[in-house]
């Protein structure tokens, strides 16, 4: 009989090992799924994890894409992880990302065709504020009326999507676009373009911001009283009150921070890789970042690596559907498996498995 036994202390080893175990299990079960779909599982796994970085044919295009995709994921996940640590479940980063993009793009387009170096910083500010404001809505409702932030933030994603469709075909529509929905291409306007800092690496300003956010979050959580208060709130709310933590303040701080970072991510995306506001501009970064945050153990350095890994499965997944004809739904399933196996193997952190000789209870 197999029995789970609680450990006296959470296991240090398994805290680090479970993400790797989860990746391996995802590869095995994903491979079986690919085989069932009629593809060679080994080739599929290689296409997803190896080819984007090292294949002669694709690497030149794929490698910079790694940072382009990882940047927003990391930036959003860092913000979310603060809230998750405090037990505040912001599921609506996708909406905050959209609003950040709309506000950032709106700011840039408002100045068109003026050229100035000040415009881009103003766009960053507008994006950050937009995301912040969108995330503050669930914070106000939660602290004032006790609503559930999971529901409110998630619902606001759909509101944001509707808003996006509206501005893409209305307010921000390109006047020279011959009636097609979508804004001017910000990436082609020098003052509003989020350019690569080092040519050919995919390293744009958003990626730089993501790296700064990682360092900032690390210092906040490990050295600053505010980070300690965030952890206290999540681990033992009563003890947090005893320590003098104001729960309302933590809710505003965590949701506000997550919204700010998600909004900035949206702004960097719309002014760089995406280029313009379109009806379907958002591509699920806000939701995938939830997986990234947990895959990275809500730890800033972990999130950095998890973001890179997740970006790899994105790029590799596209490559696999292109080269091997694997349906994109199967790729999403593959990514979802990663979170599933991570949460499943997490049980080893607090429990150990005991095999007991079969005595019937």
């Amino acid at each position: 009989m197999i029995r789970l036994e609680k450990r006296a202390q959470p296991s240090q080893f398994w805290t680090f090992a479970t993400p790797f175990l989860a990746v391996v299990l995802t590869m095995i079960v994903g491979g079986i799924m690919f085989a069932a779909l009629g593809s060679d599982p080994f080739e599929a796994i290689r296409t997803i994890f190896w080819d984007p970085l090292f294949s002669e044919q694709f690497a030149a295009y794929s490698r910079p894409q790694l940072l382009v995709k990882a940047g927003p994921l990391i930036l959003i996940a860092i913000g979310l992880s603060m809230g998750f640590k405090a037990g505040i479940w912001n599921i609506g980063a996708e909406g905050q990302y959209i609003i950040g993009a709309i506000c950032g793009a709106g700011m840039g387009l408002a100045f068109y065709p003026i050229e100035s170096v000040l415009i881009f910083p103003l766009m960053i500010l507008a994006g950050a504020l937009g995301g912040w404001a969108w995330a503050i809505i669930p914070a106000v409702l939660k602290t004032r009326f006790g609503t559930n932030e999971i529901l409110v933030s998630l619902m606001l994603v759909y509101v944001a999507e509707a808003l996006l469709a509206s501005v893409a075909s209305g307010l921000l529509k390109n006047p020279d676009g011959m009636g097609f929905p979508g804004s001017r291409n910000l990436a082609q306007i020098p003052s509003t373009a989020n350019l690569e800092i080092i040519q050919g690496t995919g390293m744009h300003y958003g990626v730089l911001t993501a790296f700064i956010a990682v360092v900032f979050a690390y210092v906040l959580l490990s050295r600053h009283m505010l980070g300690f208060q965030i952890r206290l709130t999540g681990e033992a709310p009563r003890a947090a009150r005893f320590a003098g933590v104001n729960p309302t303040r933590i809710v505003f701080l965590c949701l506000g921070l997550a919204g700010t970072l998600a909004g900035m991510a949206g702004m960097y995306e719309v002014s760089g890789p995406a280029g313009q506001i379109t009806i379907d501009f958002n591509s699920g970064y806000g939701f995938t970042a939830i997986i990234v945050a947990f895959l990275g153990r809500l730890h800033p350095i972990g999130i950095l690596f998890a973001g890179l890994l997740m970006a790899l499965t994105y790029i590799g997944g596209e490559l696999a559907s292109l080269m091997l004809g694997i349906p994109s739904a199967a790729i999403q399933l593959f990514q979802g498996m990663l979170l599933f196996f991570l949460l499943a193997t997490d049980v080893f952190i607090s429990f150990r498995i005991r095999l007991t000789s079969g005595e019937a209870a």
Partner: protein, 504 residues
């Protein structure tokens, strides 16, 4: 003597790292009240769990009425006539008495029949209880009655009671003892677990004493002095705390007309609580659990703010939060160790930071000085003899007693002007409890004003200068401890007091 009802022979149970019971043997006869006596961690609970079928012994045998007895689950034990009243009740607040009792029965009869049966049994044993009352509205003593009646409905041959009096007023204890004596006269055996020596001496026919998992002795408590029993239980001569009583200083903490609404549906509202504590004074606040103790601590520590009610040396602090009050010298140690006074999954260093950040200067511009936090945690560990491998260990890896020493030490070593503690020695073994009490008295000696909230009356009588009791959120009048007798204390705890002259 006749054959025993239950015979335990050579029961042994080991857990990883500890032997909870080693070769324990004794007999329980029908119509006998048998005490099981021992400190926390002596192995009483494990032994009882084996009898009740919750734990399987590693070796050893039990016989019930001369037939082999090895219950695989509590339901099997109940079928054989063994019933148990736990220390922590397993009742649902939102359900009524009859519904709660039905939940614990194998094949519950219809509500109406059950209610009639409950009435009948409760009257028969002098434990009045309304089957249609909601359990959330009952006092702790009444909740215990629900548990007892649940057991009695099964006509048990052996009734196990785990620390039944810890939640009762002296008067309620008397009622309970009457019931137990009646059961005994009817031939029911009772296994009575306690560490209250006087109770055991007045109630029990036989006592088995456990220490570190082993049986030390079986004796007749009426013929053994309380001191002898205690020494058998502890295994060493007890150090009784001492204190030199001097004159009190100025009023430091002044609470006037403190009224607060109940924080939750099952919480207690505070009603016009009024008292003063002077320098070098210990005010003991007694009362049965759930009468506003938590709420009072919260209002004094700053977790809950109030309006112009709490003042420190004449200046109002009732709007200040916990950290601001700490800066002014008002510290507190809540009852619930895990989750309130300390965070289970955080290290002792982090838990030191939790309440000592301000007074022990562990912050610079909001940045934490982890070196100082660790040093302070180690200081507490050394001074209060906390048994742990080091300050890096998680709070939940400590035993209850050791964590309690850490929690109390963390506050005492900050040398506060006012310290409020709730249940300072709950679940702590006798020698550690004596050390904690001594540290509280020493702190008062140095000029601090202390408020000690406790359900342990002996403790309050031992260390406090003045005594008051909380009953349904109201504080009784405050009386000097000297000259108080048990009768008066019981009445104060029961809420029968010369009502509103608490400010005296």
């Amino acid at each position: 003597m006749s054959d025993p009802l239950l015979r335990l022979s050579g029961l042994t149970k080991a857990y990883p790292g500890v032997v909870a019971n080693s070769d324990v043997s004794f007999d329980i006869h029908a119509g006998e009240v048998h005490a099981l006596l021992g400190e926390n961690g002596a192995g009483k609970s494990t032994l009882v769990k084996m009898i009740y079928g919750l734990v399987k012994p590693d070796t050893g045998r039990m016989t019930l009425n001369s037939a082999p007895f090895a219950p695989s689950a509590p339901s099997a034990a109940r079928l054989s006539g063994v019933a148990m009243v736990f220390q922590h009740f397993s009742l649902f607040d939102a359900l009524n008495v009859a519904e709660n009792i039905a939940l614990g029965m194998e094949n519950a009869p219809k509500q109406r029949d059950l209610a009639a049966k409950i009435k009948e049994v409760s009257n028969q044993y002098g434990l009045p209880l309304d089957p249609y009352m909601r359990v959330g509205d009952l006092s702790a003593g009444e909740r215990q009655r629900v548990e007892i009646i649940r057991c009695l409905l099964q006509n048990p041959k052996l009734l196990i009671m785990d620390e039944p009096t810890s939640v009762l007023t002296p008067q309620e204890v008397e009622i309970l003892f009457k019931t137990l004596r009646q059961l005994k006269a009817e031939g029911t055996a009772i296994l009575y677990i306690s560490h209250k020596l006087e109770e055991i001496r007045s109630l029990c026919d036989t006592a088995t004493i456990l220490r570190l998992g082993q049986k030390v002795a079986t004796c007749t408590p009426a013929d053994t002095s309380a001191k002898e029993l205690a020494e058998m239980m502890v295994g060493e001569t007890l150090h009784v705390p001492e204190r030199a009583t001097g004159a009190f200083g100025d009023v430091i903490l002044d609470v006037k007309d403190l009224s607060l609404r109940a924080p939750t549906e099952f919480g207690t509202a505070l009603k016009n609580v009024t008292f003063k504590v002077r320098a070098r004074e210990i005010l003991g606040i007694g009362g049965v659990a759930g009468n506003g103790q938590d709420e009072l601590l919260g209002a004094l520590s700053g977790e809950v703010s109030s309006n112009n009610t709490v003042s420190l040396r004449g200046s109002d602090i009732s709007k200040l939060g916990p950290q601001q009050r700490r800066a002014l010298g008002v510290l507190a140690a809540p009852e619930e160790r895990l989750g309130h006074a300390a965070v289970p999954d955080m290290s002792l260093s982090e838990n030191a930071l939790l309440s000592a950040a301000v007074r022990k200067d562990m912050m610079r511009f909001g940045f934490v000085n982890w070196g100082k936090a660790k040093l302070y945690a180690e200081h507490v560990i050394n001074e209060f003899d906390v048994r742990t491998p080091g300050a890096g260990n998680a709070a939940r890896s400590l035993s209850g007693g050791n964590l309690q020493k850490f929690v109390i030490g963390r506050e005492v070593l900050q040398y506060p002007d006012v310290l409020i503690v709730n249940q300072p020695t709950w679940g702590v073994d006798a020698s550690a409890a004596a050390a904690i009490r001594q540290s509280l008295m020493d702190l008062a000696e140095k000029g601090a004003a202390l408020v000690v909230i406790s359900q342990d009356l002996d403790e309050l009588m031992e260390i406090s200068d003045h005594f008051a009791a909380l009953n349904e959120g109201r504080l009784s009048s405050i009386r000097p401890v000297q000259g108080l007798n048990v009768e008066e204390i019981g009445l104060m705890m029961g809420g029968v007091h010369d009502s509103m002259e608490g400010a005296a």
